[in-house]
Amino acid sequence: MALAHDDDPKLADYAHPGRLVTTGWLAEHLDDPGIAVVESDEDVLLYDTGHIPGAVKVDWHTELNDQLTRDYVDGAGFAELMSDKGIGRDTTVVIYGDKNNWWAAYALWVFSLFGHPDVRLLDGGRAKWNQEDRPMTTEEPQRPRTSYPVVERDDTVIRAFRDGVVAHLGKPMIDVRSPGEYSGELLHMPDYPQEGAVRGGHIPGAANVPWAKAAADDGTFRSRGELEELYQGEAGLSPEDNVVAYCRIGERSSHTWFVLTHLLGYPNVRNYDGSWTEWGNTVRAPIVAGSERGSAP
């Protein structure tokens, strides 16, 4: 049984308020039957230094990715992972993490590929929970194993592949990387490892809205009005647009996908997880360098 939604007034403004919970709501519902709290971080060890009581860890690199092919785990792999973590198909999953929920949003997007019915983000993530001096523990949770059904991944609705992006050229696209990566001055995030793209720049026509602009100083999502100003005002998107979002490997753009889909209610947003590490290495793929959007060839 899914838990009731958090009826916090800030969340009520968003298109799908049921996709977010506040720290206060989570604190009250930690022990409810039917909930699973999942921590997903950039740092693979951060969970082990202390986590929300009862939370399990899901690591994007070692658990959500296929270890051989550049892809996500398949239906059987996801079912095994969920069963092992003690998560059932009817469990309400609340995901939180470090860095403005960057990796938490990525995990949520992957859960969504498998159509997990009730998956939510903790607004403000790990940092806000900590800031409010809420309990943390290093105690490993004991969740009984479940038998999660094998549900095949659906890559057709919220995921974009390279050929789909080629066909999409000329339609709205959001590049959520830093301005330096967008212009091509940097081939990777400032202060981050080089992840091997041989060309710098962006996909022609893509608007640049760095992903973290969607977060306020305390790590929570900006209000609906502020988000509309950012994506509709500055970037020029409309809710009825068919949008592709991308970054470097598809993690930061999952965060933007979440904002556009669940907070602003755009029905047609896809995340291109191949992102710049695929596009920027693809022979003869069109690229625009500099800060202008450019137009499709």
Partner: protein, 146 residues
């Protein structure tokens, strides 16, 4: 292939320790090492500008390399508690190489970290930070030892 004999004793012991345990226990070992990373000595506290940033790490890591009069390498690292993996990598190098002679540090095989067996536990991508730290340490040592 490199052999254990090529590593200084402290580093060789760590490699043996990692090799001897399961993947899950390797993470635990890395976590413990991250907690043991010593703080900065007085002359470096508050002086990040005199340290070198290791950009290849996912989280900001600052490194200072000093070669003492007796030609022994002194290593200091600064990384936030929210970055335990990066701290763990730094701690491996600190435990294994601090106060070792210049030549010993320069002789450490660049790919020694492969033998820690961490690729499976933390992913190969995250391991790049470790390679970068060692490369930067060696470059600093070479420059100062000239």
């Amino acid at each position: 292939m490199t052999t254990a004999a090529a590593l200084p004793p402290g580093l060789a012991d760590l490699v043996d320790e990692f090799e001897g345990v399961s993947t899950k226990d390797r993470l635990q070992l890395l976590l413990e090492l991250s907690q043991e990373l010593p703080g900065l000595p007085g002359h470096l506290v508050g002086h990040r500008d005199s340290m070198e940033q290791v950009h290849e790490c996912q989280t900001p890591l600052f490194l200072a390399v000093e070669v003492a009069d007796d030609d022994r390498v002194q290593l200091y690292f600064d990384a936030p508690p929210e970055a335990p993996t990066t701290r763990g990598f730094a701690s491996i190098l600190r435990t294994g190489l601090h106060d070792e002679p210049v030549q010993t540090v320069l002789d450490v095989p660049d790919d020694f970290y492969v033998r820690l067996g961490l690729a499976e536990a933390v992913s190969p991508l995250r391991l790049r930070g470790m390679a970068a730290m060692l490369a930067r340490i060696k470059r600093n040592v070479r420059e100062q030892a000239r």
